[in-house]
Symmetry: C2
Subunit: 234 residues, 2 copies
């Protein structure tokens, strides 16, 4: 039985894509440039797993997601021919990832789950990003745990096991909640319980990437956080 | 100007002494033993700085406060001739430090301060202790930062500087709030801003240990968290 729930954040709790597109739109208006910001947002997000892999392989020293996001952003702005933007404006745009909006069911669902379980983030996002996001969006975490604390990005086992250790629970008493099968598989390999939450709009309406999940592969299959709270008796 | 406030917890946010005495009373009733539980609580607390020093000197490997508290507790129970208590009951008593009550002004003051600043713990207590405490007492932290994350107990500079790094602020943008001059002096040496909060009842009524603080030594001198919020414009 789970004592604590650890939540993946980008895509699972917050709708990164529409939030980042909104921030890029604002950036474009402020700087008088127009681009395909939806494609830009997708490229920004797509740059992040390979950047984490560079850290994992030791090609880059430990770098936070803020740092990785900024490296990718500078390249994408350059490629898009967006020039002459001062560093402070780039920094502000980069922190778009601190200002992501939750899915409509997220705050209510977390509030219900918090009454019964310890709820924490377990995100590759850095602590300051997750803290700022929670403050703005009203996410009621009991604590903020990040891959940054272990200097190992998910799905490295150190991230899942480190989270259980900090919460002082056995791996089997911790349930990862995520919208991504690869993350859940990493958690399962480390001995955690797993709950899949469907987020069909993560990549935009009509751009669903249906996950291939075997029957019984994860402990819980939920339609959203309200359904998750129902199934977990919260 | 401070962007974030980091709070010492034991004695500053919560009244450890009367809470631990309450828990010892319950333990005594449950096990049919009567002792001077106030003195027991004071001895338990007094054992903790020397235990941290043993970790600091490398005589003990890294050990959380839960671990140190338990070592001290087992010795004190033995000295007091309290025998035959099973391990689960000792564990439960040891987690009395997870169940400390806040000072009467703490939750309201933190709630006001949270509206203007990022507020975090910066305690020698471990993450699970601080998380369980906050959940029970309704402490509205934006995040939970502990010496455990740095494997350096305050007043080692690593704890203060590590906190600033995780929050992505400069040391001079982070203010430590504490009821203990030694903690504030450690923070000041590391380049943090400092706010002293008076907690005259920490060691019990009529048992005040007045701190020797020079005029202007700390940035803010506050009577309680309401006064702190007033002075910080929150």
């Amino acid at each position: 039985m789970a004592k604590a729930l650890a939540f993946d954040v980008f895509g699972t709790v917050v709708d990164w894509r529409s939030s980042v597109i909104r921030e890029l739109d604002e950036f474009g208006r402020a700087h008088g440039v127009q681009r395909d910001w939806a494609a830009f947002a997708d490229d920004w997000r797509a740059g992040y797993p390979p950047a984490m892999d560079r850290v994992r392989r030791g090609e880059l020293p430990w770098t936070t997601i803020d740092g990785l996001h900024r490296m990718i952003l500078v390249e994408l702005l350059d490629t898009a021919g967006v020039t002459g933007v001062d560093a402070a404006a780039v920094d502000h745009l980069n922190r778009a990832w601190h200002r992501l909006d939750p899915w409509p069911d997220a705050v209510d669902g977390l509030t219900r789950l918090k009454a019964r379980y310890v709820i924490t983030t377990l995100s590759n996002g850095n602590v300051s990003l997750l803290t700022n996001m929670a403050k703005r969006a009203g996410l009621p975490w009991d604590c903020v745990i990040s891959a940054e604390l272990f200097r190992h990005y998910k799905p490295d086992p150190e991230a899942y096991l480190g989270c259980a250790e900090l919460l002082d629970v056995a791996p089997g008493e911790l349930m990862l909640v995520a919208a991504h099968a690869s993350d859940l598989r990493g958690a399962k390999r480390a001995g955690l319980m797993t709950a899949y939450v469907d987020r069909p709009l993560e990549y935009g309406a009509g751009r669903r990437r249906p996950p291939k999940i075997e029957d019984g592969e994860f402990d819980v299959m939920a339609a959203d956080f309200a359904d998750l709270a129902d199934q977990l008796g919260a």
